[in-house]
């Protein structure tokens, strides 16, 4: 366990070095946030009566800002080229020689990378969004309990997301092509997680698909808990579901990795 922690800390320190990139990222995300909010504003201005069971505009704006702030927690396609290169160049051999499980090792790496990126970006975005003029402002959660639930679901969501992205890396062992099909997987997963349009605005047939899959537990659930769109008791019911998915995904990931490693071909060159 200590080895994983130290890998995690190294990666975190490494990620925190890229401050100017983060600054540019923040500017970009503000621009995106504004554009998305304005589009939704225009849509909402036209709706005669707000559709039932749907998000209110201020809930939606909160949703958008949280998405922008925690972008690195929700993007499936946050790739670590280093890992892909390890697999395709054959340097995986060195990784296999290390005296600890490769699954946990990579998991810690990926987790730290996302955390570092989010740590640099989320606070400036959140602080500024809290003080924006009215229609654009990020509202604070209704009470401390909601905030606590938000933190818990967000953390669990992040863990689920990393375990899903681990599956992407593992599949590289089999296909040997890093991009392509994985790109599609990423796009589809993000769509099902409500990154393109929030899940409450989807048509009902699509919602019923989305609710079966784990993707929405990563990004959609915490943000809706924060804005109060998902009531507290329901959030409490969903946390065990998150834990269940997490356990299943990690279990499957470990199994698949073990299988892939047993017949791994070290690429020469």
């Amino acid at each position: 366990m200590r080895a994983y922690v130290s890998v995690f800390r190294l990666r975190l320190a490494n990620g925190l070095q890229y401050r100017s990139a983060a600054l540019a990222g923040i500017a970009t995300q503000f621009f995106w946030g504004f554009i998305i909010i304005m589009v939704f504003q225009a849509f909402y201005a036209q709706a005669q009566s707000p559709p039932p069971l749907s998000l209110s505009l201020s809930q939606l704006i909160t949703y958008v800002w949280l998405q922008q702030a925690f972008l690195s927690f929700i993007m499936l396609w946050f790739r670590d080229n280093e890992l892909f290169q390890l697999i395709t160049s054959g340097n995986i051999a060195y990784e296999l020689c290390r005296p600890n499980g490769i699954y946990g090792f990579w998991y810690a790496k990926l987790l730290a990378q996302r955390l570092a990126s989010a740590a640099l970006r989320c606070f400036p975005i959140l602080v500024v969004a809290l003080f924006l003029p009215q229609p654009y402002r990020l509202v604070t959660p209704a009470d401390p309990a909601t905030f606590l639930l938000f933190v818990v679901t967000l953390t669990l969501g992040l863990l689920i997301l990393v375990s899903i992205s681990m599956l992407i890396y593992i599949s590289t062992f089999i296909t040997m092509s890093a991009a392509g099909s994985l790109l599609m997987f990423g796009v589809l997963g993000e769509f099902l997680a409500g990154v393109v349009i929030p899940i409450p605005l989807m048509p009902s047939w699509l919602k019923s698909i989305v609710y079966v899959l784990p993707f929405r537990l990563t990004a959609d659930l915490p943000f809706r808990v924060y804005s109060g769109h998902i009531p507290k008791w329901q959030a409490l019911e969903l946390i065990p579901l998150q834990l269940l998915w997490l356990a299943a995904l990690i279990g499957f990931g470990k199994y698949a990795m073990g299988k892939a490693l047993r017949r791994v071909v070290v690429q020469g060159g």
């Binding site: 540019a24 995106w32 304005m38 589009v39 036209q46 709706a47 392509g180 599609m184 796009v187 605005l201």
Partner: protein, 260 residues
């Protein structure tokens, strides 16, 4: 021009060496705008319209902008990755050759995988054109063509502008994605749905308004006054590339090699 054709042929051959990866990537490139378009469709299914624009009108706008973006990304990839050329000093080699630097940078990379994106946007465009409530005339068809050309020029201009910045900063600027990706995302809706400051910026500074708003009004027959003005308005977008090229030439003259 013949030289450019040769560049393309060689790049095409080199990309075809990895043909599975090529097809997979093209396929993936097809799905990125597809998911955005699906989102757009679902939003219209729920809300019906956006400030008086209906689904097919916005789809037309979407198709034009995404097509322009795909073409310019295909062409302008060399400028997009230009910071690499400057940082490792390879740009020196281009300078000693007896051809224009713009042509050589253009020819240095060409992303054939964007064909997926191009295919998706043309499908949207065809769908929108066939379903939209417009009686097509020659002038309107020309306007549509001008819109695509003009959009391509604007995106290409932005790529060149960002590459020019590398002469001063050496490293690439991530902020440029505001104007390329952000511009694309913004321009896929007609410009008048946004707040005033956004509209102004994207009409007078970066002339997207001349691509996706004024000519669109003409195609939909919502204009008054001289139609010729609206038909030719996309040309104002094409003019955007001129100052970009001038700035590029200025940058090349100021260039100092990193020498490594």
């Amino acid at each position: 021009m013949r030289l450019f054709g040769k560049y393309l042929l060689i790049l095409f051959k080199s990309q075809m060496q990895y043909s599975t990866s090529f097809w997979l990537l093209s396929f993936g490139q097809f799905f990125i705008p597809f998911s955005v378009f699906a989102g757009l469709y679902f939003l219209f299914e729920r809300f019906g319209q956006i400030q008086g624009w209906d689904f097919y009108e916005v789809a037309l706008c979407f198709g034009v902008i995404h097509m322009a973006f795909a073409i310019s990304e295909c062409l302008g990839r060399g400028f997009d990755t230009f910071s690499g050329l400057v940082a490792n000093g390879d740009f020196d080699r281009l300078l000693v050759r007896p051809r224009s630097t713009v042509l050589q940078v253009l020819g240095s990379k060409f992303e054939f995988t964007r064909i997926g994106r191009l295919l998706q946007s043309s499908m949207v465009l065809v769908w929108a054109v066939s379903r939209i409530d417009v009686d097509w005339t020659f002038a309107k068809a020309m306007t549509l063509l001008f819109m695509i050309v003009s959009g391509t020029c604007i995106f290409a201009g932005i790529f060149i502008l960002m590459a020019t910045m590398c002469f001063w900063t050496i490293q690439g600027l991530e902020i440029s994605s505001i104007f390329t990706d952000g511009g694309r995302e913004m321009a896929q809706y007609p410009l008048n749905i946004y707040q005033k400051w956004v509209t102004r910026f994207f009409t007078y500074v970066i002339p997207f308004g001349f691509v996706n708003y004024l000519p669109l009004l003409f195609i939909l027959g919502r204009t008054e006054g001289n139609p010729l003005l609206y038909v030719l308005s996309p040309l104002a977008g094409c003019a955007f590339i001129v100052p970009c090229l001038l700035l590029w030439r200025f940058g090349v003259r100021r260039y100092r090699s990193t020498g490594s």
